[in-house]
Amino acid sequence: MEPKLENDNAVALIDRSLAFWEIVSVMTSCLIAEWVVFSIGRANPWALAVPVGLAFGFMFMSHRLRAESAREIGLRFDNFIAAARLLILPMCAAAVVLVIIGYATGSLSFRRWTGSQSILGLPALGVLWALMQQYALQAFINRRAQVVWGPGLRSVLFVASMFAVLHLPNPLLTGVTFAGGLLWAAVYQRAPNILALALSHSLMTWVLISTVPEASLNNLRVGFKYFG
């Protein structure tokens, strides 16, 4: 029995190492898009398609090789209500805090999103954009983090940290995405439903841009774009 146990341990270690490398690889693509393409490659409009295409292509291939179904990764409807129930209370609490901040700073305006200052000015695109982010963050990074550390606090903290890192150097967005990342990663581990998370993500983004002073958000810019 002992040699088999050793073999099992080795397989598990290799699997964890591969999963960690997968996370690093997708994060690298995102950081290349945010920092390299927007700084030295923005003259070529197709340059952004390379890291984005590589990241999504890789994630799809990884799902196939690990035999993960769409249902397993959270593209499903049966647990939508369960996920929504877990989300609603923390979302309401966060929204109340943000509305109080908006009221106190005089920047409360729930129609600001119509100003089309960013892609989030259009609700449909806002949900689509949130869906893409939540897919990468939860259906991929969260699942691989669970392979490395198992479900629980460590993997949830890791996912939230990765989400925050992708919003550097915007200080406000880095903070709020870490907080949001904690909630969404924890909810995903209990009720994996990407659609519920995407709706929550776009809704909270709308509340954030409607309440927080515009200057502190810097048009939701992240990466190299933050500087100009």
């Binding site: 690298t28 290349i32 030295i40 490659g41 390379v50 890291p51 590589l54 990884s62 090789l65 690990r66």
Partner: protein
């Protein structure tokens, strides 16, 4: 490692290699478009000021915009479009209209250094870069505010 693990490993390696080449290509493209190696020229101190010429070999009929910095501070900007038949005669340019001349502002007595830069626009005009034309030009100004040292550049092609 099972067969799918091995495939995943290979895909990760391939993706990493593609990204390295992609970032490398972007970096090379950025350097070539921002600091293109086709500006050539020369400058010298004369009793009148700083004079010289600059040619853009990529567009030899274009006039190049130049900026003068003295002791590291921006001093003046101008277009290199003055007549320099000696530059054509030496084989450096296809036409004579590549000269520039800057009259120096009042400078304190002592040693100074002038640098002339060619301005280059890239990224659809969103980015401007400065490239040093020739070597830094060292000169001195006397108590009366006149240039006391200047060098005479011989137009001898060396390459």
């Amino acid at each position: 490692m099972d067969i799918n693990g091995l495939k995943l490993f290979r895909i990760l390696v391939a993706k990493s290699i593609i990204e390295v080449f992609f970032v490398g290509a972007l970096a090379v493209g950025f350097v070539l478009s921002t600091f293109p190696p086709y500006f050539h020229g020369w400058g010298e101190a004369t009793p009148q000021g700083i004079e010289g010429w600059v040619v853009n070999y990529w567009a030899p009929w274009d006039r190049v915009e130049v900026q003068l910095f003295i002791d590291g501070h921006f001093t003046a900007t101008g277009m290199a479009n003055l007549s320099r038949p000696d530059v054509v005669a030496a084989g450096w340019a296809k036409d004579q209209w590549h000269g520039y001349a800057f009259v120096l502002p009042k400078l304190p007595p002592g040693n100074h250094e002038a640098r002339v830069y060619a301005i280059h626009e890239s990224a659809n005009g969103n980015r401007q870069s400065l490239q040093l034309v020739g070597n830094p030009i060292r000169f001195a100004v006397d108590q009366n505010g006149k240039l006391t040292i200047w060098t005479i550049h011989l137009l001898v092609r060396t390459n």
